[in-house]
Symmetry: C2
Subunit: 203 residues, 2 copies
């Protein structure tokens, strides 16, 4: 039987470097799949249903909420976004680790529904460094930067709700730490005993 | 300030391959120290006080028990053996991870005194494989092998008392898993928040 994969919930403020670190992690391990979100917003050019998002009508989305089909969902500037449970559970059953890159409120919803999920907060080394990175992008207005910093401060205050904190002072090191967390969690005695041959050593 | 090291408690039946795996782990990481035990038995030729053991008289040992100076201790064929707490705590404060290679009763004593210790059970892939390995050594009598297997069965039944189980079907893989466990445990949010700069991001 295939060993069940881990559900990994990852959050971190804008500017913490999540996409870089996740990109490096995916080069280290080939046993991770991303969760695909559902949304009611219109597809943008080039976006594919089931790849970038599951595109759903408002009616379909509301029906799925009614059926408790989401691990988490939220409304954002007039559109719904959510993580459908079924595709996640299918990947997990196939033995894939499934990574949810998700903001703090969504993460809290997922952890409530799936207390066995592995939760990781990716933190910038400091708020000063985060500010430097956000300014370095050169894309945001002063007002937008101030807003992002305020959000980051609020999000970082919730880091202790996550099992692990990875500080991204070096993206390669951060990716190696994520890799180690996945390997270690697979060795947790509860999971290991579940996946070991029954009737033999540890039964 | 130096980050405090981890106390790592490791058990596993005779024949699980602990010394091989630990040897490989020490080649991967240079931040681990072994705990040195105290004993009342006489030094053997070549053994050094403070390196192989702390050699103590029976009176000294009993006084240390009275002072609660041990993380664990036991009497074995007329001699006392124990793990003095002070040298362990000194290494931890210096930032070293300290590895205790210890049998299951001793491990239970340590985990009671130090619930924040990281506990790992090194398991053979199966009792059949363990038997094969013990016979392969060619050093033990049938009676001794039967005794070791019976002890192994009893010890393996306690594996669920450890946080992690590493199955030694491949010593290199087992060492990498131990390495990952140490890295991951250092990222636990409780520990990370303790060691992060106060007054900044996550306070």
């Amino acid at each position: 039987m295939t060993e069940k994969g881990l559900l990994i919930v990852m959050s971190g403020p804008s500017g913490a470097g999540k996409s870089t670190v996740i990109g490096k992690l995916m080069k280290i391990r080939s046993d991770i799949r991303f969760s695909v979100s559902a949304t009611t917003r219109d597809p943008r050019p080039g976006e594919e249903d089931g790849v970038n998002y599951f595109f759903r009508t408002r009616e379909e989305f509301l029906r799925m909420i009614g059926e408790d089909a989401f691990l988490e969902h939220a409304e954002y500037v007039g559109n719904f976004y959510g993580t459908p449970a079924r595709p996640v559970d299918e990947r997990l059953a196939e033995g894939w680790h499934v990574l949810l890159d998700i903001e703090v409120q969504g993460a809290a919803q997922v952890l409530q529904k799936r207390p066995d999920a592995v939760s990781v907060f990716l933190a910038p080394p400091s708020l000063e460094e985060l500010e430097r990175r956000l300014r370095g992008r050169g894309t945001d207005t002063e007002e937008k930067i101030a807003g992002r910093l305020e959000t980051a401060r609020r999000e970082c205050a919730l880091a202790n709700n996550y099992t692990y904190i990875v500080v991204n002072d070096d993206a390669d090191k951060a990716a190696r730490e994520l890799d180690a967390i996945i390997t270690a969690e697979s060795c947790r005695s509860g999971r290991k005993l579940e996946s070991m041959a029954k009737g033999d050593l540890l039964s």
